[in-house]
Symmetry: C2
Subunit: 354 residues, 2 copies
């Protein structure tokens, strides 16, 4: 049985960048009082004291990551659980064009997870924090029968430059970063137990270690090219609905332009074992792209006159125009034959059964 | 079965002060772009955009409140659960001397709780938020077999004025606000099922609706009288240990000076039914005060030369000197006969069995 203090010590060890004193001493934090980069107080005090940069606003988001809802302890490696929990939350900052600064970890877990599992979980999270430029500034731990985590992530953006969901205008081009449906493909492999076959390991990457598109978001915010933005966490069809609702607009999506994931022929065949949905029909890349969640790509709108200035890729991530914002308040998709149909939210809603 | 959107709508209705547009529209938020008091974006966008006040630092804390650990759904009224979840987290701001500004709610709950239970929970939380001056700026909801909440609370403090745990100096007086052991008494009544008897209802108040000592904290921070501060969330003996460790000092506590809770004689008698600990010995006010948790009083240190300027009460809350900081690194208590003994942490540690 570990004590809470020992547990916090374990956390501290994995996040040396947090730089707030040694165990039980905050004199180091006192010394760093005028350091603009580290928190003045953090892990081990009642709360963290953070100094904002001049001329910036804080962007704050919070995100739960729960055993049996967002991950399965028997299937998902603890490193991936730790990495993904932080990546998901950080993606919300990318979707505002903000630069990550600090995060807070609420972690409840069973005794059985307080040893090797926790260390791997923290290692994965520490890797993510280094990658995204985040400093652990505090948190809360307790014992619980299941693993429950909640992440709060704070970032900064130049005053007035955050990109909201609400600025899309009729005529704007709709763009996405990366490819869509990749993470859902990984999830289907997990659900159909195919993930155990080594040959599919590469297809699991985005499901296990998603990459928030921070550089793309910051690039767009700095230039103020995007009128609105959201990250594709629940699936394009659902997230587009959020963006259109917030902006009071509609959208037409050109199905053929959507950058879908390449599915190996063996998995596309009906009865390949990966048939969770649509039942017995094999996997459809378009369906994965429209309704599959957790890609954490950015979906944003750009005024047409600025579209020419948009590069084809940003930091190695392709940018693709996939539709156009309309005056009507509904979302339509147009297929290869020019036939349009209503695009209904078919992605993830935790309170609805699929 | 409710949808996530409907659930968010329910939350929004209880927190009109959040002032961020109507459902699905952030144009209101756009309009309030230059409003220093409301968030520029919040509920319904990917993240909240918050503008810090000039010359201030952010104080941020996060706190989990979990069914079966921190509350029992069958015993604790949902209003109290909502109120207390936010009060606990806000107490960490009081302990830094910060003024509350915004909060974020992570809420996972079963379908069975998504109706009347949720409304009452939110009503209690809304009451707390008004009382403490907090605006709901965002959050995350999902479905889960048990009720899991995590609160993130952001406050502000004038640059450099936050009171850390780490500044106590030998010779400083140790003071506490209010009375200690009151919340633990309520917990014992709950554990012994006596809470169902109406005559004890008054004794449950602090257990159900604790009051973060915000005014006391802000008063001390503004004048810079306190060298260190912590809130008594885990029990005085345990929290004092944290404060002494952080400051690298020891302490002597005068048992007779501790403002203990008055226990009705019926409950003090052995075998009164309220005998959870110590077994069969009735309730001891001193034991409740030293090792009982969740009082959320402030425990702080004041240089002796400033002690005379400290009022006997602040905003109606008594302030009592109960000890003195020492050079040695250990904590002692001195009883009525002048006998001293080691004061060991006997409060709450979620990873240790009592």
């Amino acid at each position: 049985m570990v004590s809470e203090e020992k547990l916090i010590e374990r956390v501290r060890r994995q996040f040396p960048s947090s730089r707030v004193g040694e165990a039980g001493s905050f004199r180091a934090a006192r010394r760093s009082r005028d350091n603009e980069f580290g928190p003045r107080a953090g892990i081990g005090d009642d709360a963290a004291v953070l100094r904002p940069s001049r001329g910036s606003e804080w962007v704050v988001t919070t995100d739960a990551f729960l055993e049996n809802v967002h991950f399965l302890r028997k299937v998902h490696p603890p490193k991936a659980v730790g990495y993904k929990a932080l990546a998901r939350a950080t993606s919300d900052l990318a979707a505002m064009g903000a630069r990550p600064r600090y995060f807070f970890l609420t972690l409840a877990l069973p005794d059985a997870c307080a040893g090797a599992w926790l260390d791997d979980f923290l290692r994965g999270m520490a890797r993510a924090s280094r990658r995204f430029g985040l400093i652990l500034a505090g948190g809360d731990t307790t014992k619980y029968p299941v693993v429950v985590t909640s992440l709060t992530v704070l970032g900064e953006v130049e005053k007035g430059k955050a990109i909201l969901r609400s600025g899309a205008k009729p005529g704007d081009l709709l763009c996405v970063s990366g490819t869509l449906g990749e993470s859902e493909l990984g999830l289907r492999l997990v659900q159909s137990k195919l993930y155990k076959q080594k040959r599919w390991a590469g297809l699991l990457k985005k499901h296990l270690y998603p990459e928030p598109r921070l550089a793309v978001g910051e690039w767009l915010a700095a230039r103020q090219y995007a009128t609105s933005m959201i990250d594709t966490s629940d699936g394009l069809s659902t997230d587009l609905g959020h963006l259109c609702n917030a902006s009071g607009v509609g959208v037409i999506v050109w199905e053929q332009k959507i950058p879908t994931v390449k599915i190996p022929p063996e998995l596309q065949r009906p009865g390949a074992g990966c048939t969770w949905s649509p039942p017995n029909k094999g996997l459809d890349p378009l369906e994965l792209a429209l309704n599959g969640g957790e890609d954490y790509e950015l979906c944003f709108t750009v005024p047409k006159k600025l579209a020419a200035r948009l590069p084809r890729e940003l930091g190695g991530i392709p940018i693709t125009a996939i539709g156009e914002i309309t005056r009507g308040k509904r979302a339509f998709s147009i297929d290869a034959n020019g036939k349009s149909k209503l695009l209904l939210p078919g992605g993830w809603d935790p309170f609805r059964r699929r």
